[in-house]
């Protein structure tokens, strides 16, 4: 089978990246993805779509990553952005408590809108805190954090998206 047919037969999955403004969702995507639309879309319509083909367990998967701006209930985001997703990653900033203090409520909202049962939780900007400070944050967050990442230092970024890919196949 030629490459064109392989690409055409590839599984495609929609995944969501959610979390408050400024937590580093876009930076994580920028680390992981090369081809993307202008960031202006996020401020204009509240979402930007990027694409990345990953190989997971010898299978090529086309990830369509929807970077959704903000997650607060007061923010007006079209509910349709959350529909049809196979997995979602909730990103918070380990250096800003306000981005994880309402984590449970925000996750509940994302689960309700997307219909997903499991959401990957990622604490970004780990490079800004010491090991001890990170432990304090992990203790403070009531839910199990799946990964601590640093888009700036390129730490665990690939792993976070691989975890997300694994979720799409469950």
């Amino acid at each position: 089978m030629n490459l064109k047919n392989q690409l055409e037969l590839m599984i495609a999955k929609k995944v969501l990246l959610v979390g408050n403004f400024g937590v580093g969702k876009t930076s994580l995507i920028r680390r992981f993805v090369l081809n993307e639309f202008s960031e202006d879309y996020i401020s204009t319509i509240g979402v930007r779509v990027s694409k990345k083909v990953v190989t997971y367990k010898n299978e090529a998967i086309k990830l369509m990553i929807w970077d959704v701006a903000g997650t607060n209930a007061d923010e007006k985001i079209p509910k349709a952005y959350f529909l049809g997703a196979s997995a979602a990653m909730f990103v918070f900033d380990v250096s800003r408590e306000e981005t994880y203090v309402t984590l449970e409520d925000n996750l509940k909202m994302v689960k309700e809108l997307s219909g997903l049962e499991k959401i990957t939780i990622v604490g970004n900007k780990k490079d800004l805190l010491s090991k001890e400070e990170l432990e304090v944050v992990v203790d403070k967050v009531s839910l199990q954090i799946d990964l601590l990442t640093s888009a700036k230092e390129d730490e665990n970024v690939e792993d976070a998206f691989m975890e997300l890919t694994a979720q799409t196949l469950k």
């Binding site: 929609k14 081809n35 993307e36 319509i45 509240g46 979402v47």
Partner: protein, 268 residues
């Protein structure tokens, strides 16, 4: 005695001449020396000057290009009104020339089409086919309707199921995703419950969207979309959707779906 007097006179004359012309002679000698020096200097310097002039002539843009550009930029910036005033008539003429050329082309095209469409043969053909809208026929011919892109997209996820493109190299997966996002945004912001976005127009392109329960079909077209073409296109889209929705395996087999898109929409 007489001779002696004459000698004395000559000597005095010589003496007087010396007294009167010494200064002039000195000046003359000095000028002559200066002139000779200049001539010698010119002989020596001339080749270098010629060479430098040639170099300047050949490399003027390299040596002074930036400076000249900057100077012109500053001059233009500082005297915008004068520049506009100077360019206005020239630009006006250019625009006029362009419009005249384009109208001439359009006129030729219309004339050609009218000539063809109003031949006895064509009139009879249209009469028997029941097509009586002559203006529509001419417009259709001049501004030919072309399907540029077709996207079959899953409604909720925005994932691309199949597509056709006349030549664009854009990433169709990304376009499908963003189109779905824009559609969702527009529907959420402007429409009432259950209403869907159906048309987007931009310059010469128009994007027609047909919504079904689980998929939507977006078609980008150029040219005149007459009522007749619109109806045919609508029928073709319905047929395509019927085929896809009856056999949903098309949605997971992109190459098969692409073939059916070409068969139903492009070749029909």
């Amino acid at each position: 005695m007489k001779k002696s007097t004459t000698d004395n006179k000559d000597k005095r004359f010589e003496l007087l001449r010396d007294l009167l012309l010494t200064e002039d002679r000195e000046k003359f000698d000095s000028l002559r020396k200066e002139f000779i020096l200049n001539e010698k200097l010119q002989e020596k310097v001339s080749p270098f000057v010629d060479e430098k002039i040639l170099d300047l002539r050949e490399n003027f843009p390299k040596y002074f290009g930036d400076k000249v550009t900057d100077a012109i930029k500053i001059q233009i910036r500082e005297s915008q009104d004068e520049v506009v005033e100077a360019l206005y008539p020239i630009m006006g003429k250019m625009v006029k020339k362009f419009i005249v050329a384009e109208i001439t082309k359009l006129s030729d095209s219309i004339n050609k089409t009218i000539k063809e469409k109003f031949s006895v043969q064509e009139i009879l053909k249209r009469f028997f086919k029941g097509k009586r809208n002559d203006a529509g026929a001419v417009l259709e011919e001049v501004f030919e309707f072309v399907i540029e892109e077709v996207f079959v997209i899953e409604k909720e996820s925005g994932l691309l199921s199949g597509s056709y493109s006349r030549g664009s190299n854009v990433d169709k997966d990304m376009v499908s995703g963003m189109l779905t996002a824009i559609k969702s945004f527009a529907e959420d912001a402007f429409s009432k419950e259950g209403q869907d976005l159906e048309n987007i127009k931009f310059e010469t392109f128009q994007l027609s969207i047909r919504n079904f329960k689980t998929i939507y079909i977006a078609i980008a077209t150029t040219g005149v979309l007459t009522q007749e073409i619109k109806e045919k296109l609508s029928d073709d889209i319905s047929n395509l959707a019927e085929i896809i929705l009856r056999d949903r395996t098309y949605l997971s087999e992109e190459y098969r779906l692409n073939e059916i898109i070409i068969r139903e929409l492009i070749e029909s």
